[in-house]
């Protein structure tokens, strides 16, 4: 794990958890804004 202190460690390809969360939230927001998702109830 020592090599993590410098930035040489290769990160896995693809989005991080935060990246996925933001992407999904933005897609949902776009669907609501465009009227595809309407009146989401609770």
């Amino acid at each position: 794990m020592a090599d993590q202190t410098n930035e040489t460690k290769k990160k896995p390809a693809g989005l991080s958890l935060d990246g996925w969360a933001v992407t999904v939230a933005l897609v949902l927001t776009a669907l609501v804004r465009l009227g595809v998702l309407k009146h989401v109830s609770w």
Binding site: A25, T29, W42
Partner: protein
Amino acid sequence: MASSTAVLRAEPIQFPRKIIALLPGVALLTVVGLAGKVLEKSIGTYTKAHHIVFPNIEYVLWAIVVGLLISNTVGVPAWFKPGVATYEFWLKTGIVLLGARFLLGDVLKLGSVSLVLVLIELTLSIAFMTLLGRIFKLSPKLTSLLAVGSSICGVSAIIATKGAIDADDEDASFAIAAILALGALALFTFPPIGHWLGMNDHMYGLWAGTGVDNTAEAVAAGALYSDAAAKIAVLAKTTRNAMIGFVVLGYALYWAAREGRQAVGNKAAFLWQKFPKFVLGFLLISLLASLSVFNKDQIGSLANLSRWAFLLTFAGVGLRINFKEMKKQGLRPFIVGALGEIVIAAITLGLVLGASKLVKL
């Protein structure tokens, strides 16, 4: 810790297979979350119809309790675990969506109050936890992990620091177990104390956001009080999470100097790497809401989507608490964590009560 190290390994992503593996656990989160909603509604209807005086227990607590019962009786089978672990994804998605309910001006105003409180809390918590670790003769790295976990944001901070200071898996497991157990305890103690002190939603939300360690538990502790308190708790906790990079960098530099290792090269890149990017998503949605991109109906829909995401998160909080596993980690780190948490809760409570005298909360 196996799961956290597995995440760090570079493996080819087998997308469809990965998604399919998540489905059973996500379904379990949904069922447990819905059970919480059904229990709240049916118990409320029953007690009202039979004129029974019974406190209204929110779906949040029911979902956690149902999850906790499953986890500690029949257990969570291995094939549910990958999906159950997505609770953190739902938490972050829910926080980003919650941005629609904040105008950027409110974020800046409340965020700056939170930031001042968070900076004081961080300094005092790290100093106190370090002192406690020395008194109880815990290993210095375990002490560092507990200090970071209790002062910033629980499990993610511990995992980030573990890599940066080259700590053992065992120390990280100890620290994570203590932080999770204490987070669960906060769910049952913070709301009654808040009610007892007659705190308003803003004050309580700030306290939950600055005093409860793990983000999921902080949001749950807020939601157990009120919807408005949950909103403020999310903002305060997000401010706290944004500090993660600075604290982890500080510890990385300290341990590198102490062990004579090569220090962090590019500090700006390190800070960016550790910065929780979902905060940017939250700010973006909040900016769009401030620019009136959404109408009232759409803001309502986004808020409800955020609630659904949090419902899955709360179910996951209960499902991952396993008392038997926690017992295995031993008592000393737990005692240090518990003592630290009590003091941190008292400090943050004092800070919030003090701030409420200076600014209108």
